[in-house]
């Protein structure tokens, strides 16, 4: 009986690991369920040429801007010296983190919560001595600030756009006038596309760079 149980467990476990490998290799159902995270080994699967940080801030009714992350009580830095918000690539946690800071602090009435992304080219991360080895120019770092989204103080989504690099990539594609004209020509005339009703339209509008179905939305602040 023990032997049969052990054999069953071995078979099931290896099947689970094997399914992860096949799913990952063929890119089939890789994100179908959270359990897939335990069988898909996609370490260091992505990268960007730009370093990114997130500033979670709130705008008071007086116009003063307040920092929400790191919170005033203490800062938790999970993998070095950065607060946890900087590791949220998808931005799913920003609202809860912001509301949590508001909940446990004294503050004036707030007008809105803002998520601002700061990005800079990674070459500026080189220390000065290594920079001098490779570059003739002096270091001239520049941060780009990009409003990714806003919430009401109650947590209702007001505005959301993709991150700065996705936006810049879309601009690079859209810099082709012929493609832009084709995209405009090929779209039916509807003021609002019924398929994009609800909040999802704010986040997933693949034609946004060419005007999009919801072009009344502000593209940038």
């Amino acid at each position: 009986m023990r032997r049969w149980l052990a054999s069953g467990f071995i078979t099931a476990y290896l099947a689970f690991l094997g399914y992860g490998i096949v799913s990952h290799a063929l890119r089939f159902q890789t994100f179908a369920h959270p359990v897939m995270y335990f069988t898909v080994w996609d370490m260091f699967c992505g990268w960007q040429a730009y370093e990114s940080r997130v500033h979670l801030v709130a705008e008071g009714e007086s116009g003063q801007i307040y920092e929400l992350s790191p919170p005033p009580w203490s800062e938790f830095a999970p993998f070095g010296d950065l607060a946890r918000t900087h590791y949220d690539v998808l931005g799913n946690s920003f609202k809860r983190i912001a509301l949590n800071t508001l909940k446990y602090t004294q503050h004036e009435p707030m007008r809105r919560i803002l998520i601002v992304e700061e990005v800079w080219q990674k070459k500026y991360n080189l220390p000065d001595d290594l920079w001098a080895v490779r570059f003739d120019e002096p270091k001239d770092p520049k941060s780009y600030f990009w409003l990714r989204g806003t919430f009401t103080p109650d947590g209702d989504l007001q505005y959301a756009v993709p991150d700065f690099i996705s936006h810049s990539g879309a601009l690079a594609v859209a810099s082709n006038p012929r493609l832009q004209a084709d995209a405009q020509r090929g779209r039916p005339f509807f003021a609002v596309n019924p398929a994009h009703q609800g909040n999802e339209r704010l986040l997933n509008d693949p034609t946004r760079w060419a005007g999009g179905d919801n072009s009344l939305l502000p593209y940038a602040h």
Binding site: I21, N92, N100, V133
Partner: protein, 502 residues
């Protein structure tokens, strides 16, 4: 056919169901909670904030479309459960109620990790979860543990402690091989991995611990490209070569070096420690006994180890504790009592700690206002990426290896062909890039242009250094859309020894 099938089955039986004393797994049982402490202990004071309804969880399920994949509890319950996890880890370490403790860890550790996908859950927590599951199936508590001591009087002493089927260790070994195989598939699916671009930019990323060697290595993309090939070949072949023969020590040694290099070049600490712990699955009975004999021989020969004092101390402890049998029943009852006590103490300590500072005399914290200057920067209108940020660097040399300059230098001799390589980074649009050569008086000597498509990472310009150019200093000026972006100084000489010196 039937015979072959029988042989295959016999081999499989031998592979999974032969027996051994689980030395390797016992060592893993001791090492794993120590590694887990580095993840769980720093997060414990933030339990309420990271893992409870009173804080701001970030469930992994959200990203997969399962908003409420796991139940969330109030702060007190979350703290009690997280303290219970710490208690269970301690019990695994000393081997007290080992299997129950491992199962507790197997449930609680991934639960908390899944609740906080941004600062707790990583692939090393996934590997740890697998290790916990497989260890809980094994008899890793049969050695060097409280359980083993309590069970001591049950069976007569033998030359070797009890033996058990090997299949949990085999599954652990297969798991490690499959992880590397999956990681290799990831790299194959990432086109920029083999070109070295991904590694170069990861080594310049500042989101992990400091890694100065990585920053330095990012100056040598050819080296990174070579390392990328070695890594992918090693990861693909690990699962096939690690079992026996000459390859085994080599494959494992490369693994040890590989993970050590990830610490130096990427700033990873816990991931290598987790992997080293998992490598203990490759310690078999023979390896352990060989090492033990070696160490024992060394101890016998060394005069500075107080062997007699240690023997006396062990004997004294034995006298104080008495026969293990008298502790068996109290230990069984004490386990749930201690677990309960630990959980309640955890809740009490956390209350006293007041993680959000809401009970301090001056009341809750006030929000920190941003300086007007920084607030103005945050709220400034969005800008387009500057030209100079679309370029990574300009390199000059003469030899291309895999489209990367292998001999980066600035001094060139007559007869050589200089390659000026312009590194670009995405995102950038299709660009017309011009390379001009200016002499020391800023006079135009030559110019060439080419198109860099939006997916291009590199654009090469080749110049034959001929007698048409006088020896001296020159500047390479790179422009796009008529705007100067970067400059690079080079020197033309009429002397091979000068080139060699540079």
């Amino acid at each position: 056919m039937k015979l072959r099938w029988k042989q295959a089955r016999q081999c499989l039986d031998e592979f999974f169901f032969s027996t051994e004393t689980p030395f390797g797994l016992a060592m893993m049982r001791i090492a794993l909670p120590l590694v887990m402490m580095t993840m769980v202990l720093p997060r414990w004071p933030y339990t309420r904030e990271l893992y409870s309804l009173d804080g701001a969880t970030a469930q992994l399920g959200m990203g997969y479309g399962y908003a409420n994949f796991l139940p969330e509890f109030s702060g007190e319950i979350a703290v009690a459960l997280n303290t219970l996890l710490l208690f269970a880890m301690g019990c695994v370490l000393i081997g007290w109620q080992t299997r129950i403790s491992l199962l507790l860890c197997f449930v609680l550790y991934p639960y908390f990790a899944l609740l906080d996908s941004i600062s707790t859950l990583t692939k090393y927590s996934v590997i740890t979860t697998h290790l916990l599951l497989l260890l809980s199936c094994s008899n890793c508590g049969a050695l060097w543990s409280v359980d083993a001591w309590l069970a001591n009087s049950k069976s007569p002493p033998r030359a070797l402690p009890a033996v058990f089927p090997i299949w949990p260790r085999r599954l652990l070994q297969l798991l490690i091989g499959i992880i590397y195989f999956g990681a290799a598939i990831t790299k194959m699916n990432t086109p920029t991995f083999l070109s070295g671009d991904q590694l170069q930019l990861w080594m310049l990323t500042h989101i992990n611990f400091r890694h100065p060697l990585g920053e330095w290595l990012s100056l040598y993309p050819v080296l990174l490209k070579s390392m990328a090939y070695v890594t992918i070949v090693w990861e693909m072949t690990f699962v096939f070569l690690v079992w026996r023969g000459l390859w085994r020590p080599w494959v494992l040694a490369v693994g040890v070096i590989f993970h050590f290099m990830t610490t130096l070049t990427l700033g990873l600490f816990i991931f290598p420690m987790t992997c080293y712990t998992s490598y203990l699955a490759f310690v078999d009975e023979e390896d352990f006994l060989w090492t033990r004999n070696l160490v024992r021989g060394w101890i016998r020969q060394s005069s500075w180890i107080p062997r007699q004092a240690w023997t006396a101390f062990s004997a004294r402890c034995g006298q104080l504790l008495g026969a293990p049998a008298r502790w068996r029943q109290p230990a069984f009852v004490a386990f749930p009592m201690c677990a309960l006590l630990a959980a309640v103490s955890g809740v009490g300590i956390e209350y006293w700690q007041d993680p959000f500072d809401v009970r301090r005399p001056e009341g809750m914290h006030e929000l920190r206002p941003l300086t007007p200057e920084f607030a103005a920067r945050l709220m400034s209108p969005a800008e387009r990426i500057r030209d100079k940020d679309k370029f990574f660097a300009i390199d000059t040399g003469t030899i291309l290896v895999g489209d990367l300059l292998a001999d980066r230098r600035r001094v060139f001799n007559y007869g050589e062909t200089m390659i000026a390589q312009c590194h670009l980074v995405p995102p950038h649009e299709d660009m017309w890039i011009e390379c001009k050569i200016l002499d020391s008086d800023n006079r135009l000597i030559d110019r060439a242009g080419n198109i860099a498509l939006r997916e291009s990472f590199r654009l090469n310009f080749e110049y034959a250094i001929t007698r048409a150019i006088d020896p001296g200093d020159y500047s390479l000026v790179f422009e796009t859309g008529g705007r100067e972006v970067l400059r690079k100084r080079i020197t033309v000489v009429d002397d091979k020894s000068t080139v060699a010196a540079h």
